[in-house]
């Protein structure tokens, strides 16, 4: 008995050049052309979606094509009385959308327009004494939220507000570390590349990467690469474009990105483009969406495989490096 590797095949029919202008068009007109239905059905993640689209445009150097006024109006209407942000107007606050709103605010210099003090209070309320972080007042616990909380505060320049909880947060994240060096959703949960990215990002911002077993984790992450060049997020799973971000950003943070085959991965990423509509899908031939479009573009940026067509992305915040330099926001990365 032999296990069959779950993978896809890339052929010459799939795109192999970077379709920069098409992606820019796709994002610019997202929600107004063919994808009205999809857009309306996804209102529950609108704020995150806006962040994906705007960051993609920023990395393409085309942020000026988006309307700052529209974005500003939208973001401001999503801040609730509790200080957090919802996905849309009238939606309840959640840490996922709060981080996205803050990231967008940084891109458009809206820090003075939002109520920073209340936002910070909201985030701090979600951080528990044991270092775990709730997604909202209803108590879901997930290491993704540790990243959201810490990244949000770092972007707002308010990390000092959690000085007394820093140690607990680090220890909680470490309690989610597994036998393979990776991290899961909660203590005991299986390692997953998305959670690994979040945990490494959190430790990076808090300056605590020394606890990470870089050899074991680097090897496990390198083994996410499949013969097609694409990456999966866990052993024995199919490749998916978004792992080009979660895995490669994680490898970048621990200084082991050279352990995968960049050329093959680049080919996989490019094959996930849609030549007709622009945008990227999870796998070659699937439907595109803004989420995978951002992570396709950001992945190419990390791999530095499109020469100067994409701006440098920061592997911790998934925002343009220039912007973070201007803001003076720091994270540690092992080289």
């Amino acid at each position: 008995m032999g296990s069959v590797i779950k993978d896809v095949t890339i052929t010459d029919d799939h795109p192999s050049n970077f379709l920069k202008e098409k992606h820019s068009d796709y994002i610019e007109h997202y929600g107004s052309k063919h994808d009205v239905y999809e857009y309306k059905m996804s209102e529950y993640l609108r704020m995150c979606g806006l962040y994906w689209g705007l960051t993609a445009m920023d990395l393409l150097g085309n942020l000026n094509k988006m309307s700052r006024e529209d974005v500003k109006r939208f973001v401001l209407t999503c801040q609730n009385d509790d200080g957090g942000f919802g996905a849309c107007k009238d939606h309840d606050s959640h840490i996922l959308h709060t981080l996205s709103a803050i990231q967008i605010s940084m891109m458009y210099d809206l820090k003075d327009e939002i109520n920073v003090e209340k936002t910070v209070e909201y985030i701090c309320r979600l951080i528990q004494d044991d270092g775990s972080v709730m997604g909202d007042e209803w108590g879901e616990i997930d290491t993704r939220f540790n990243f959201c909380a810490v990244a949000s505060l770092a972007l707002l320049g308010c990390l000092n507000k959690i000085e007394s909880k820093k140690e607990a947060i680090i220890n909680y994240v470490l309690s989610c570390m597994n036998f393979d060096g990776g991290f899961g959703v909660r203590p005991g949960s299986e390692s997953h590349a998305g959670q690994i990215y979040c945990c490494l990002g959190c430790l990076s911002i808090l300056g605590a990467l020394e606890h990470v077993d870089r050899e074991s984790l680097g090897w496990w992450l390198a083994e996410r690469q499949l013969p097609s060049g694409g990456l999966n997020g866990r052993p024995e799973k199919l490749p998916d474009l978004c792992y080009s971000w979660w895995v490669v950003a994680s490898l970048k943070i621990i200084g082991k990105v050279q352990w995968i085959d960049k050329e093959k991965l680049t080919r996989f990423i490019l094959a996930c483009q849609d030549e007709e509509t622009g945008g990227f899908a999870d796998r070659p031939g699937d439907m595109v969406d803004p989420f995978h479009t951002l992570f396709g573009i950001a992945g190419l940026s990390l791999l530095k495989s499109t020469d100067n067509d994409v701006r440098d992305v920061n592997p911790v915040f998934c925002m343009s490096q220039d912007l973070l330099n201007n803001l003076g926001v720091k994270s540690s990365i092992i080289s």
């Binding site: 008995m1 032999g2 296990s3 590797i5 239905y37 999809e38 309306k40 059905m41 529950y44 996905a87 009238d90 939606h91 309840d92 959640h94 909202d136 209803w138 879901e140 997930d142 597994n178 036998f179 393979d180 899961g184 959703v185 909660r186 005991g188 949960s189 299986e190 390692s191 997953h192 300056g207 605590a208 990467l209 020394e210 074991s216 680097g218 090897w219 496990w220 390198a222 083994e223 690469q225 866990r234 052993p235 024995e236 799973k237 998916d240 200084g255 352990w259 995968i260 085959d261 093959k264 899908a281 999870d282 699937d286 439907m287 595109v288 989420f291 995978h292 540690s332 092992i334 080289s335």
Partner: protein, 544 residues
Amino acid sequence: MHGVLKVRTTAEQQEAKRIEREKKLKKLDSIKAKIFEKKKNNEFDEEILELTGGILSSIPDFLTLWNYRRKAIEKIEDKIELQKLCENELRFAKSCLQVNPKSYGSWHHLCFVMKYMPNPDWKKELDLCSLYLEYDERNFHCWDYRRFVVKNGCVSADDEIEFTSNKIASNFSNYSSWQYRSRLLPEKYPDPSQSRGIQSDILMSELDLVQNAFFTDPNDQSAWFYYRWLLTPDSPTLKLNFLQSYKQGDNLVIIVIFSKPVNKNKLSLKNNDELINTNWINISQDDIFIIHKCQVNDICMGNLSLYVDDQLQFSTIDVEKTRNDGFIFSEFTTGRIELSVDILKSQLENIQQLHDMEEDNKWVLITLIFLLMKIDQFNNYSELVNEYLEKLLRLDPSRKRYYQDLRSKIILEFYMKNYDITDVNLSNKELTSTKCNPISSFLLAKNIDLSNNKLTSIDNSHFWQNAEKINLSGNQLTNVTGIEHVLKLSQLDISNNNIKDIDELQNLKLCSNLSVVNLNGNPIQQVDNWQELLKNISSTIKFI
């Protein structure tokens, strides 16, 4: 959007779809309007359950609507009514999972309701998890919900170990089950004196079980990762491995190396119980956290003591000696509990058997190297290890650099088994990296020859604290980043590399003792008046 195939449709089909979708959107809008109206009036009643249900059943990640349902639940005071409502909620959330088994919102709702309801039936939920895991044995949401049920329903670790045993028996390729066992075994059968903190007889039978798995299917990663973990000792306890102090100008320089990473904020120096104001730095640009350095103003008398947190690590840094010709302490212990050599050897035998049957299996080769290095790192096996590595480079070219780095590490550690070598000669070894165990990192070397390798960066120089002459000629360096850590450096040979840009040499000026640099055969020599530009970097360094 995941796994949604793009299909071509006719104009007719498209039109039909458009009309249908328009209808759907209209309906969605009207329900939403009603819901938000009720929310405004704080009416979290039965109707809100019905309305939100209409949307959640097709959009289960609409978190705000789950929140409204919970608000409705919280309004109920009557126990019996509440129990009934909660049972309905469980049913509803599960029906949403049928639509999307990965919906975070639905899984969290289950947790909330189970905790909130008067008489939760944990057994029923556990059975449900078992059933779900039959359909998809890797759904991590379901595994996590299972662990939630186990914890709250007081299910024993024994039962869970048995559950994973059965899962593995029916399919060895089950990463989730192996992962769960890595948590359950140390919890159920603890023995801190043994490798992995697991009682030794349990550990042995676990090794058998996992061997069964990869003998059945040698290409399945799951078992190999788990096997590696079982054979790897726990993380080390904190030990001071190396301490050097010497005089530099008016200051004492102190360098410390630990057995495991330590944050610099935890380090302190005391002189007769009095804290000394020092600024520790992680020496390495890559924040390896094992090696730290500080400078203190020359202290006239007595001994210094080193602390990590408040624990004494070293009590007598001899200031007198330090002032004369320097002071070195070294005691390399890993602080790990290793498996006995006998056990490792019997494991090796088994894997070699598998290798005879599966010559080209990369997992077998990787594991053989791992075991050989553990059993006898410094002696008999270097040729065999090299042969396996060559084969891996051929079989698995995508991870070429991983194997090259591993080979480099093995070569370095083999060569530096006597860590106090002062003349290091490692030219022509195909090294891609000089990262290795700190013990083997040329700590005391005065001359380091790494010429004619494949180095693309200077990646371990923070350990080269005593180096005066370094030869890096014939590599693939594009810059000299890292050289600034080698403060005693006086002669540097970087001829025949790939340095193109004068700016990439700026770090050289940070080495205050540097007198000669050989730059021959670098593209930089094609830059107009490169010699003049070099003078701007430093007037005291002689560039050849």
